[in-house]
Subunit: 226 residues, 2 copies
């Protein structure tokens, strides 16, 4: 299973989104030696430009379409409310046939804190993205932890806790599992099934938010025990 | 904190619901030496009668109202779709001032498997029950695990995993926490906050169902790590 990671020491990766999640993931990918283009709505986005200047030669920035076209793999790190619009702007052609790692959550902050979900339990953001881009291999993952934990699971309990993947394409899930293990250091990756299982991990955010309040830290995760 | 449990070696407890959850909890409570009345829609309910005959002298059965009137503490073990109707049948007077341990989930099986939630992320069954019975102290708990794990957490990983409580009354949550620890053996009980935090644990069911599928056992739970 490590063939994919070993064969290609570096990859070209598009990261959509300039917020803390996008920046954290993009910075980690550059640190791992990959070529990373951060995409924003506008080519001249200040946050994306500042990141690319700070992150060094392997880092660049552009529009959502630029980043999607650049990436062999694309991360969706946009806010859930804007994900479909950002991906439409990225362009179906630029995403066709590629693995899209969707880390966004369908959080609605419009009614204040704590947020609610803008999907119901019959649907998920992951599914909406997969339906809108049927020729893209959407894999939902990493959305169940804070962005610092996403790229450094060892910062919580030495990394002995669980990450989930949901997606329709077994090969894509295999690649993403290798990335999670080989690049980010996730020890336990649980395949929940097809993209409809994103309903589970996205709904879990309603518990995550309360755990964040009760534990008074975002540096936590779940370990499955049986 | 153990005063409550030690002071009263036995209590009178009402258990609403005759399904596997109600039967498992009622049987455990009788085994602990408590006097338990199982309540059903009809006084002559076959399952409740059969349980009471099998479970011995400490066990009895009756209507929802009989069980609620009997109990110093009441467990809601009815199916989520029928909980409000069952509790109305139990009667506001019979529930007034009492701790109601709500273990039900708002699962909608009408569209087939896997179930969805009949609440959205702005509401929860726990809140609906608390709103309908403002003078009852509703504590949501145990709804995040299979009924066998509810009353015997040690059957999973020696009991080293977490249970949650949600409720508006701190004293009631304290009593329920003692019950969880002292009677059932829960080592880790996390107070999530007021009854609105039931949105978190009820939404988690959407993940629980997928974990059940992926792990191929209902004998599992979450351990929080930080």
């Amino acid at each position: 299973m490590l063939i994919f990671v070993k064969r290609r020491t570096t990859m070209k990766i598009g990261v959509l989104g300039t917020g803390m999640v996008g920046e954290t993931i993009a910075t980690k990918l550059v640190a791992l030696g990959h070529d990373v283009k951060m995409g924003a709505r506008d080519a001249g986005n200040d946050k994306a430009k500042a990141w690319a200047e700070k992150a060094g030669q392997k880092a660049s920035n552009g529009t959502f379409a630029d980043a999607a076209a650049f990436g062999e793999i694309v991360f969706n790190c946009t806010a859930g409310t804007g994900s479909l619009e950002a991906l439409k702007s990225a362009g179906e052609d630029n995403l066709r046939g590629k693995v899209l790692i969707d880390v966004a959550n369908p959080l609605d902050f419009s009614k204040g804190m704590p947020p609610t979900l803008f999907t119901d339990s019959n649907d998920s953001l992951g599914e909406r993205i997969q339906r809108a881009f049927p020729e893209t291999k959407v894999v939902k993952t990493l959305n169940t932890v804070n962005c610092h934990v996403m790229v450094d699971p060892a910062r919580v309990a030495g990394g002995d806790h669980d990450m989930f993947v949901s997606g329709n394409d077994a090969g894509a899930k295999g690649k993403v599992t290798e990335i999670l293990r080989g690049w980010f250091g996730w020890k336990n990756v649980v395949d929940l099934g097809d993209i409809t299982t994103a309903r589970g991990t996205e709904s879990y955010l309603m518990l995550w938010i309360r755990l964040w309040g009760a534990l008074k830290t975002a540096d936590f995760n779940l370990k499955l025990v049986k």
